[in-house]
Symmetry: C2
């Protein structure tokens, strides 16, 4: 091993479970498959987690990254529209990519496993608030035109949400475009639309 970080068997199984379930879906993955893929025996799985359900819930709680952002975020906003939209967009994609497997699970099993969807929507909602408020403040400073700020913020978030989902699967709908180039263009578009 290059890095001598030891990963416990428990975490091995949790990570494997997230991997497989995000790919195939909860029902399609067997406890047998999870265990052997993790290089362990099925028995060990049940010794640790008791049930398949509990395995998934534990995995979700343990590996759902939920960092605080409010405090640091406001300070980083410069007042330059394009710069700030770029920061917000990149932050969004960074957070979403950290949680990409969890989000995939939440989308697939959202109906059957209630509560999952909400947790994954936590960050987007937070960013939406920040962005809406940001638009309001920028308008007060006379730096952007007057519109429905929340709707505008939602449009921006939706666009990034669509782009994120498109990048989730291996076979993408529009594979010709990289995410970075998309972010750049879309931010420019919004900046141009909002400057007075």
């Amino acid at each position: 091993m290059p890095s001598s970080i030891k990963i416990s068997n428990k975490d091995k199984m949790l990570l494997t479970a997230i991997d497989l379930i995000s790919q195939k879906g909860y029902k399609s993955v067997t406890t047998q498959e999870i265990a052997t893929t993790a290089g362990l025996s099925e028995k060990t799985l049940f010794r640790h987690f008791g049930s398949k359900q509990n395995l998934l819930e534990t995995a979700f709680d343990r590996f759902h990254y939920s960092e605080e952002m409010e405090d640091t975020f406001h300070k980083k906003l410069t007042g330059d529209l394009e710069t700030d939209l770029l920061l917000i967009s990149k932050t969004y994609h960074r957070i979403m990519n950290q949680n990409r497997k969890m989000i995939m699970i939440a989308i697939k099993e959202g109906n059957t496993l209630p509560g999952f969807l909400e947790k994954t929507q936590q960050h987007p909602r937070q960013l939406l608030k920040i962005l809406t408020l940001y638009f309001k403040n920028m308008h007060k400073k006379g730096k952007i035109i007057h519109t429905d700020f929340e709707l505008q913020a939602i449009s921006f978030m939706m666009m990034n949400f669509g782009a994120f989902l498109n990048n989730l699967d291996a076979d993408k709908s529009f594979p010709t475009v990289t995410l970075d180039k998309f972010i750049q263009t879309s931010v420019q578009t919004f900046a141009r639309a909002l400057t007075p």
Copy 2:
């Protein structure tokens, strides 16, 4: 019955299958459940379709709406940017909503049932081509600024894709906003960003 259109038992089961599978996922729905929900016996299901797999595939082929649009579409474009973007956006959402259950199935079972995803991505790709070409032509006429037209078209499509997916589930991420208002605002944004 108000309308005397008789729906065959075969179609009853196909529609029920689409309904249930789009909600719960393929693996979570039993043939028993499909049959009784359709008001028929499980035996009849197998007499018609032979297997659960075949039932789903038949359902997908039979009820995946794939209208032609190229011909009529170009003629409807007026040359007024905002009007045309509105038409494209509404067309997109109309088609996506017709196929919403199919798209849900494709998203959930996309990895396990290959070929489904591609079919649902057929329309978005077509609209993307039309929109990209439209931008090029509008630029030639001097009606919009010069940008990367494909990237611009993708941004627009992504935004609508995100909005569509957000409206898919009963519990939406941003429930305060109706789809129509979103479409209106987003179209205005893009129109403003692109006019010289």
